[in-house]
Amino acid sequence: MDFASEMILSTIRMATPILLVALAELYSERAGLVNIGLDGIMTFGALAGFMICYLTGDPYLGIMAGAFGGVLINMIYAFCTITLRAEQIVYGMAINIFAPAVAAFIYRVYFGVSSTLAQGTLMAPLAIPLLKDIPFIGKILFNQTPMVYFAYLMVVFTAVFFSKTKAGLNYKAVGEFPRAAETLGINVIRQKYIAAIICGAMAGIGGAYLTTCYVNTYSDGIVAGRGFIALSAVIFGRWSSSGVLLACLLFGFFDALQLNLQVMNNSTPYQLFQMIPYLCTLVALSVFGIRRAGPKSSGKPYYREER
């Protein structure tokens, strides 16, 4: 395959986990919950996905386990920030410390400290009939794992949900002005918990993608800051699902570029290429700057009885 199509193919592959997690953050922030614990949730999702995939040999069960694990971890965050009203940034940080520690412990206890890497099964690509036969794009876009299709369908669904449906508008109101939402009969607390469940599941799936579709092993630090890159994608994409998609494709492109350059230049130290995604994220963010465009009550705790 030539360089251009190889680049597009790996861009799509690398953008998918970031996209899944960025959508998770979008659902969370739309209900006023800034969650910086995405890296932690992803790590736990990656482990849960890997374990189940390894034990059952079924990557789809692995993805489901990742979603479940993500929800489990995010419920801790949800309880503490929604019910106890702990500071969201602080608690997200606590999750970032807690979840990887638990994941590392479970992996170590189950697999021991042996040198041989346990290997799970990778999800097979699912070619879509007819569409896959379109020259050039067919091979790139329609011969991917089902998780890639899922991620892109979620973008469309999210766009429609937040702009065209009543439930979506109610959902958004919780993030913009919870007091007004409450007076209109929306159960703000319940909506925030629902948001946390969606966020946990999506971020967990994003993590599980890494261990069931991308590589077939688990290692500490496998997430490598992708949760934070997803967080920047939400800001960069100005809290709209199409913007988030573009941002994720851009960051995915940097990742793909890095990988391909590494393969092509054996003599140059690989670290120089690995820096590319992080540096480019920074440059992209600083060139375009951040206009405050997010939900207005994002990050603020909600006191139902306060006047």
């Binding site: 967080l231 670290q271 992080y278």
Partner: protein, 352 residues
């Protein structure tokens, strides 16, 4: 009222530690070992002999630095999650100076420490500058810079400053290593530097007008701006100082403990620092204490693993649970219903 909130700020972390240990014991028992025996080994490991106590202090030193780094920035209302990157950058500069500049002794030590702190300060200034001028979220910037710094360190030990076939840099010459306080125990002057920094930071924050303004900016930016405080100046300064503390920590760790860079240097110290600062409720002296407690757990964990076969990662979980419970606990006691309950009980006591 003030003494009561003081009391609560000690009680909450204490309860968090006990609950975390309780769950830790259940996990140890579930693994088929005796929790009592494990804790016994843990205590022996951390306090059992003079050399064990020294090891604990050595392990506490870098944590004190990264804890103070997180604490100082957050006092000014900004989140510096880049402690690890700043720590690593400080160490990189120190190893470069120590190995290639060709002079040794006290002058070299001083140069390494100062340039290490400077490098950390510059690395820490980047998120500050981008926040002030471009409005970027400092959390994202500082995290991205962590990865860049760690990869840069990798570049040093795998190619630029590599020594032989093993991916590591050469060790700094013995004359440039931090001297020991007592010749027969491993403790170096690094501990003293860490404690001095903690005391200076504490004095600055609570006893000078600059520290007062910095805390005011952290508590309410808008009010501070209307009071004529240079909010942006304090924000940037807090980033630079905070990065400088972490960079100095990296230097001290390199010159006093590791002597060379290799894979895993400084790993996790940044986030641990944040955890420590949060449990210590941003008090620099309490930060020292909590950092020491974390170090006790770590040294003890190794002995525990050897003695009982319980993996050291149990201790990582206990540590993580302490932060999860402590932060939840602080939020809990701040809830209106709980506050009401506490003050009701207090007034009842007074009535009796």
């Amino acid at each position: 009222m003030k003494t009561k909130s003081r009391l609560l700020s000690v009680v909450v972390p204490f309860v968090a530690v006990i609950v975390a240990f309780g769950i830790g014991c259940i996990i140890i028992a579930a693994l088929g070992s005796s929790p009592a025996q494990a804790i016994q080994y843990l205590i022996i490991g951390a306090f059992g002999s003079a050399s064990n106590i020294a090891t604990t202090l050595v392990k506490a030193t870098p944590l004190i630095f990264t804890g103070l780094c997180a604490c100082f920035a957050y006092r000014c209302g900004v989140f510096n999650l880049g402690g690890e990157g700043q720590f690593v950058v400080g160490a990189c500069v120190s190893v470069w100076v120590g190995v290639t500049w060709g002079f040794t002794g006290f002058a070299a030590i001083l140069t390494c420490l100062l340039l290490g702190a400077l490098a950390g300060g510059i690395w820490g200034a980047i998120p500050g500058i981008l926040k002030i001028t471009r409005g970027l979220n400092e959390i994202i910037v500082s995290i991205m810079l962590n990865y860049v710094a760690i990869l840069f360190m990798g570049l040093l030990y795998t190619s630029l400053l590599r020594e032989g076939s093993v991916p590591q840099t050469p060790a700094v010459p013995e004359a440039t290593q931090l001297p020991r306080i007592f010749s027969d125990i491993r403790i170096t002057w690094g501990v003293v530097i860490a404690l001095t920094v903690a005391i200076v930071i504490h004095y600055f924050l609570f006893n000078t007008s600059g520290g007062f303004r910095l805390r005011a900016v952290g508590l309410n930016r808008t009010a501070s701006r209307f009071n004529g405080f240079a909010v942006n100046k304090y924000t940037l300064a807090s980033f630079i100082v905070s990065g400088g503390i972490a960079g100095l920590g990296g230097s001290v760790e390199l010159l006093g403990t590791q002597y060379r860079l290799m894979s895993g240097f400084g790993q996790g110290f940044g986030f641990d620092g944040v955890a420590i600062a949060l449990i210590a409720q941003l008090n620099p002296l309490a930060t020292v204490f909590i950092a020491y407690f974390f170090a006790v757990l770590r040294t003890g964990a190794t002995t525990m693993q050897v003695g009982t076969g319980v993996p050291t990662s149990v201790i990582d979980i206990i540590q993580a649970m302490v932060i999860v419970f402590a932060v939840a606990g602080f939020a809990l006691v701040r809830m209106p219903q709980i506050r009401q309950y506490i003050s009701n009980r207090a007034s009842k006591k007074e009535a009796v």
